[in-house]
Amino acid sequence: APREGVEEIHYRLKWLCNVSTVGDLYALEKGHFARAGLRVNVKPGGPERDALKELELGHAQFGVASADQVLRAAAKGAPLVVLAQLFQVNPLQWIYRPDKSPFREPADLRGRTVGVTFGGNDETILRALLARHGIAEGELRLFSVRYDYTPFYEGRVHFWPLYINAQAPIIGERLEKAGEPIAFLDPHRWGVRFVANSVITTREMLRQHPRTVSRFLAALLEAWREALDPANEEAAVQVLLAADRETPEAIVRRQIPVTRRLMVPEPPAAFGRIDEAAWRETEEILRVQGLIERPVDVRSLFAENLP
């Protein structure tokens, strides 16, 4: 049973416990939540999970969701509030073999086969990239991606989407071991700023328990900052290894620096900074592609004057 005066809180992550959740786990493990007087139940996400729906249903009070999910929900009237933006740069990139399908600029995609998860945000990002660089969809072949990398391994697909911080160290290591050079196409570098994971709560929560929200957020961001601080890297590795027994230590050690580069803004003190311009751009991409039916005023999503 929760101690006297301690609030029980459910926090739904976007994905299974991996490097993209290191700060969340760190907060739990190192007592940040406890010191803030919160008893937080950190619940891993999963493929058919949607933290936003759970927030609305009251199954959770805080959650992590990607910007496209948030905007879609907001367009349909979901009463959400964005508290912090975890990734400053979207971790979604495309792996390719520079020797077989060299890439210098987006025009090089012409005539290639590119993997996308239809319906996923990689499809949205790729379409935005193509639109920005004036490439028609007919100039390349899209390949429907699911669990299995074989089509890429076999060279039938030239560009394959993955998360640069979580998956690339694993897949990359395997290809390097086989002596194959690899490289990554980063849409961010080519002008597509598409926001990834953010921490979300509901308007109702914010209205009724503003102090809880701010205590939670402060504790969480502090934990993230510490977890990604190079000085605490060893502790972060241990926290991750304890929560995720499925990833070898060597890989985890490679994942953390990549994650740090994607997440920590300048200055580092502003961890969780909400990049309003990027949100606007994300909203526009979704609107242009017809993925949201009406415009969303992104400012209205952001939490103001937290106590």
Partner: protein, 249 residues
């Protein structure tokens, strides 16, 4: 028959959607969690035709997969019914393979077979054949002594005759299972599409899931239900006709 089936299905579907909407109203949920009737209706108008075509596409593969799995199940059951080592081996194989989730085996299948229609058919058949196998095994391994005695005694029994006798004596049970397993072929095909296709309603559902678009899923479920009902009625008709033919005096 058809009419009744469809009516029943629509009642059922309406009840399901009604329940969801009641939930929505009771908890004051946004359109994102549970879409309102207006949105479902608009989605139906926008995607209805495309989804109906996708369901037909899926049905086509499902019919093939169903046929394949009936053949597969019958063949495995005929061997697995034997009491000897080979029979036990095949039984072990059939049972163990079944306990593997298709998502785990799918990558291996893709490696071995590529990702053409063959793999999709195989996945559909694999999902659907096992319940058939179980029933076939149950029926094929239980002797019908009053009929079989004569053939045994006169040295005329062959395995084909034995199967025929046991199948005929259990025609009604087998028809129930064969007709019923059609829906499994449907779900098998959808799952296969879900995993690895770029067409069919399973593929559409996958996209809708990524987009968290429950309205699309509800439209898809409606059309799957209608398609399945039509097919079931057809199969039941065939089954009844066969049974009448076989059992006529």
């Amino acid at each position: 028959m058809l009419h009744r089936r469809l009516t029943q299905f629509f009642i059922l579907y309406a009840a399901g959607v009604g329940l969801l909407l009641a939930f929505k109203v009771a908890l004051g949920l946004s359109d994102y969690v549970i879409p309102g009737p207006g949105e479902i209706w608009r989605t139906g108008q926008t995607y209805g035709a495309a989804y109906a075509a996708a369901v037909l596409n899926t049905l086509g593969v499902a019919v093939l997969g169903h046929g394949l799995s009936i053949v597969l199940a019958a063949a495995v059951a005929v061997i697995a019914r034997l009491k000897d080592w080979i029979g036990g081996f095949i039984r072990t194989a059939a049972f163990n393979i079944q306990s593997y989730p298709i998502v785990a085996v799918a990558p291996i299948l893709f490696i071995l077979l590529g990702d053409g229609l063959a793999t999709r058919l195989l996945i559909a058949a694999l999902i659907c054949y096992f319940p058939l196998l179980l029933s076939f095994l149950g029926v094929f391994s239980e002797p019908v002594r009053e009929i079989e005695h004569f053939y045994e005694a006169t040295g005329r029994m062959t395995w084909r005759l034995q199967i025929k006798i046991r199948a005929f004596e259990n025609l009604q049970k087998l028809t129930t299972v064969v007709v019923g397993s059609a829906t499994l072929a449907m779900v098998g095909t959808i799952v296969a599409e879900f995993i690895a296709a770029t067409a069919g309603i399973g593929y559409s559902i996958r996209i809708a899931l990524y987009q968290s678009d429950l309205a699309k899923i509800l439209v898809a479920l409606l059309l799957i239900g209608v398609g399945t009902s039509l097919w079931l009625v057809l199969l039941e008709g065939l089954g009844a006709a066969l049974q009448r033919r076989m059992e006529r005096p």
